[in-house]
Symmetry: C2
Subunit: 177 residues, 2 copies
DNA sequence: TAGAATAGCGAACAGCGTTAGCCAGGAGGA
DNA sequence: TCCTCCTGGCTAACGCTGTTCGCTATTCTA
């Protein structure tokens, strides 16, 4: 049993930057998150951001860390509240992702900057899938299903947006032994 | 039973551009596909591309069309060659995606420019999932599983890259009634 | 043969991430 | 008290991106 990871400690200025970045990301989407815009929200000039973060990617890594931590907490809560429950786990996954779509996409789409993330965070966030299936390969497959459904929903790839609840139910049913 | 869609007809110059774009995309990845680079490969200047395509997105839409058509063909072939076969379908999906990773990602990640795509193409490409499951919701869930596994594999999100075959088997097993 | 459409071109614009060089203020030590 | 060094700002600028503008040469049509 791994212990809940903690957020990386940062100087107050750096913390301000991450907070502002998150607000921009969630309120206006990933395209709005530019270094100049971020700097303006903090009240400085863009080049000054580089006194606190080496690259834009490093700022994003801080956001990814937040996203994975929060998603992981939601999943652990769903599974801890009395074992198994594939259905429960999927519901928690979907809800956590859809309430912060831009953050979810940033944290799960594209390659991970693993070096800039706290070690163990990724594994800890994925653990609930193992707890719900009891098998590492079924766990990975279930995670794939969850991510696939969420990302396709976020990207509006399903023909009828109306009945996605039934799609999720069908997915959960497939993984109920 | 829908009929196989055909590629949108284009002027020879436009076809040259799409061909060059595809070569750049597959050989050097999505970041290498810039309008200046594309123009250079065709032997013209970047602004001249806009005599043939209104935006870069339109060039990408032409590539997406190719990607969906080829993926669809592979899936239909896997299902037609004697019914059902969730396992067969997933294997065909994985292989088609991994042999053209950049094209697959372009065609399936992010929102679709549906207006610039031939009507019916998307539905036709997804049909094999219905043929393999016999149920629209199970079909969508199975598609989600396939896409999730592929995109996570492409993005190197799984801890152990070694045994992904077992993950795919576990996924197929879950959907074998 | 005149006119229009086509498809090239170079110059330029705004926005992006990022680098370089400069400078004010504060902290620590002699 | 003075000197030095570090921190965190600043402006200017670079190279890149997609894209627009205005011009021109060729080709097709009436």
């Amino acid at each position: 049993m791994t212990v809940t990871p903690e957020l990386t400690a940062r100087s107050s200025r750096a913390a301000d930057i991450v907070t502002a970045a998150r607000r921009i990301l969630e309120d206006e989407g990933v395209d709005a998150l530019t270094m100049r815009r971020l700097a303006a929200d903090v009240g400085i000039q863009a080049p000054s951001l580089y006194k606190h973060f080496p690259t834009k990617r490093a700022v994003e890594a801080a956001l990814i860390e937040q996203g994975m931590l929060e998603l992981g907490k939601a999943l652990h809560a769903a599974v801890d509240s009395r074992g198994g429950g594939v259905r429960r786990l999927l519901e928690a996954y979907r809800q956590a992702a859809l309430t912060r779509p831009a953050l979810y996409r940033l944290a799960t789409a594209g390659p991970l900057p693993r070096q800039e993330l706290p070690p163990g965070l990724e594994e800890w966030a994925g653990q609930p899938f193992y707890l719900a299936t009891g098998d590492p390969w079924r766990a990975q497959a279930l995670f794939s299903l969850a991510h696939g459904m969420v990302i396709l929903e976020l990207d509006d790839r399903f023909p009828d947006r109306s009945d996605l609840g039934r799609t999720w139910k069908a997915g959960a049913a497939a993984f109920n032994r």
